[in-house]
Amino acid sequence: MKSRNESAWWPRRRDNLARALIQEAACNAPSPLSGRLEEEWLADLREQRGTASRLRFAIGCYWASRVIAHEYLAPSLAAAERGTATGFARYDSSFFSSRMRAILLTVGGHVAVFSALASRWQRTPKLHPSPMEIQFVQVQTALVWVFVLVGAYVIAEVVLRVRSSARRGQ
């Protein structure tokens, strides 16, 4: 039989995870707000009932920090001289760096091309594919979906950036 301490291990881990997520989220927020948001969110986290809702709250805070960073930095970027990338580089709020995005897009493109070629290679589908082949196709499909989603995210981000810079330019 599990002791009380052992059974509380998993919820405690999840609470720690929620706290870590909030601390990470606060780090992502603009520096003048970072300390305040961390303290505020950790205090509000305590008021959430149940470990699942705490985790949900922390994930929400993580999302909120990205939104806040994006909104907070828009006016300061507009105030900064157009064409200077220093402010943007310092306050870049995207999930991936430019280099990482380029790598992901390149790898994603290659996977997509190879998947397309591999699926076209076997023109006559086998009636009884081996479990290994089925697994391969499943992994391949999952990979393609992952890269399609990452690609969509990158495209959306680029479109948003272009739109916001166009708005600033007005």
């Binding site: 003048p32 707000l33 305040r36 948001l37 303290e39 505020e40 969110w41 950790l42 205090a43 509000d44 305590r46 008021e47 959430q48 949900r56 709250f57 994930i59 929400g60 805070c61 993580y62 999302w63 909120a64 939104v67 806040i68 909104e71 907070y72 006016p75 300061s76």
Partner: protein
């Protein structure tokens, strides 16, 4: 928040947040209180609170407690400003009339 925002986009979620305060405008509510009343997720709620604060609709301050004595961290409390109250009331009146300007 130091940076003023030009306009507040009056989304359904923003109205829910304002509604939570308009029940009793003198109330000072923490983010968790507003979340309970409005039913919004934290990812939606906090950007709205900061947006409204930077636009001057809300003011916020730390709860006046000693965390050691209280045994819990101090909360950030939000309150409608007089101008925020009048603008919120006006917004709800416009929506009630069904004639947004």
């Amino acid at each position: 928040m130091g940076k003023p925002v030009r306009d507040i986009r009056m989304s359904f979620q923003t109205l829910r947040v304002l509604e939570a305060f308009l029940d009793n405008p003198a109330n000072q509510l923490s983010g968790a209180d507003v979340q309970r009343r409005s039913g919004l997720a934290s990812g939606t709620l906090y950007p709205i609170l900061l947006r409204l604060e930077s636009a001057g609709w809300f003011v916020s301050r730390w709860e006046a407690i000693d965390p050691v004595v209280a045994g819990r961290p101090r909360r950030r409390l939000y309150r409608l400003t007089p101008s925020g109250l009048s603008r919120a009331s006006e917004t709800f009146a416009i929506f009630a009339r069904g004639t947004p300007t």
